[in-house]
């Protein structure tokens, strides 16, 4: 019998590949992007990262003691992710966007749809659906973050982590996160919880692809 993590990887593989093989992303990973588009991407990313912990908190607050290990996992994860929206803000400042402009930015409909779905799923679908969001975002960061950061450094002539600290560092930070996430996902039981995680991962891959496509 497949572990839940293996089942999640298999059942969402085409959604992951739809993200990976989207022409905009292929081009970004191969050649990087110009500074205007990178700024636009980071501005959207700021709002995704900003809502990451509030979504996790909303989900944790709805988990009974039947889900205690997952609730505690979320607490630790939130602690580690705390303040990461400021990393995005620093990167934006490094490429010429002032913090006031970042705060004033109105996210695209795709970012609103992604965040809106994640709050709704934690509230109305199943609190464990938050693990689907974590899975999709950690895959994007740990599998694609490294090559994308390398391409950005080349195309924008950035030195070290300047301007790519969020994307570059998450590529290595999330290595450990992926292993921890696998362990917690494999503890998950119940058909409705499993279905909610798969759905959430698919929706997150879908909306994230739309965000990248639109910039």
């Amino acid at each position: 019998m497949l572990s839940f993590f293996a089942e999640l990887v298999t059942r969402t593989d085409e959604d992951r590949r739809a993200f990976e093989t989207h022409p905009v992303l292929l081009d970004a990973v191969a050649h990087g992007m110009n500074v205007e588009r990178y700024r636009a991407l980071l501005l959207e990313l700021y709002h995704v990262v900003w809502h990451f912990n509030p979504v996790s908190a909303a989900a944790a607050s709805r988990m009974s003691d039947a889900w205690m290990p997952i609730r505690h996992f979320l607490y630790e994860h939130m602690h580690e992710e705390s303040g990461h929206e400021l990393w995005v803000m620093n990167d934006l400042e490094a490429v010429g966007v002032a913090p006031e402009a970042v705060r004033a930015h109105v996210p695209s409909v795709h970012t609103l749809a992604l965040n809106g779905y994640n709050y709704w799923a934690a509230d109305r679908r199943h609190p464990c659906s938050v693990l689907g969001m974590l899975y999709a975002l950690e895959v994007i960061a740990s599998v694609y973050g490294g090559p994308f950061a390398a391409a950005l450094r080349e195309s924008l002539l950035l030195e070290g982590d300047r301007g790519v600290s969020f994307i570059g560092s998450h590529a290595s930070l999330d290595t450990q996160h992926m292993a921890e996430l696998r362990q917690i996902l494999n503890q998950l039981a119940g058909e409705d919880a499993l279905a909610a995680v798969v759905e959430s991962a698919r929706v997150n891959f879908h909306h994230f692809t739309r965000i990248v496509e639109a910039i």
Binding site: S3, F5, V9, V29, A30, G146, P147, T175
Partner: protein, 321 residues
Amino acid sequence: MNTTPPAIGVSGLLGRPYKTLRLEWSSDLRLLRVRTCVRPIQCYSLAAMAELQQMLGDISANPGLVRHFVMSSDVPTVFNFGGDLALFVLLVRAGDIDSLKLYGKRCVDLVWWMENAANLGVHTTVLSQGDTLGGGLESVLPFHKVIFERSAQAGFPEVLFNLFPGMGAWDFTIRKAGFAVANEMILSGRLYSADELHYRRLVDVVVDDGQGELAVDKVVREIDPRHRGTLAALRAQRLAAPIRYESLLATVDLWAESALGLTDRDLRLMERLARAQARKAGGAEEGAVEEIKLMELESAWGERRARFDRRNLSNDRRVRS
């Protein structure tokens, strides 16, 4: 696990709504022509392998229906890049050995079908017209007849990022070309031209670019009148030099364990290759093959540099003592 009932007859075989395969049927030769198309990066993704397995299962479920099976790629200049590198990175970073083994087993099941095709009354031919890397090369070796167009290149680059090809490369290369060639190819990670592969007996026929389809037709029409005898001989050939399923699976287990030991540096090299694939998929002329050659060069330079540094270090020590 696939629970879809097998297709019945030619219409059932051709009627599946495949996304990564294009099937054609020639009734005069009872020839099933399969073109693979995993766009934009032609590799063995989970979905592509599931479709291949489904199609091969359909052939097995209709004994005697297919006499000739021919496979090639619909993607210009690429036969197959092999494994899904992003999926490998994901599974390695997650430390998921079970999924790595499962992926390997799915690959082995495909080559195992090819290995046993003669028992099902099917003669198999493969045509490569471009880059055939890692798992892509492993997948062509069990075919009865391997045809390459002259500009196609192939090799097992896995050692460049501290891994080895784990889905049949050793077994099939040793059987076709001998132990020394398998050692040379797998441990060097270098790429070989079609002519070099022909010289090493891994490729049966090399033709000029654009002549591959004619070569396939020639092979099939030569085999067809002596189909029964050829398959009997090929079954005997497999008995004389058997490859065991258990050995293939044991190698997959070793491969998965090695993959879990990959370091961040190794994964970054794998990601470099994935970036090169993305460049080629985006229309660039240079892709994974050129990146592998660059890695070979860097690796060679690294060794020379290390030897140079070691020599300088020992000279320094001698001077100081």
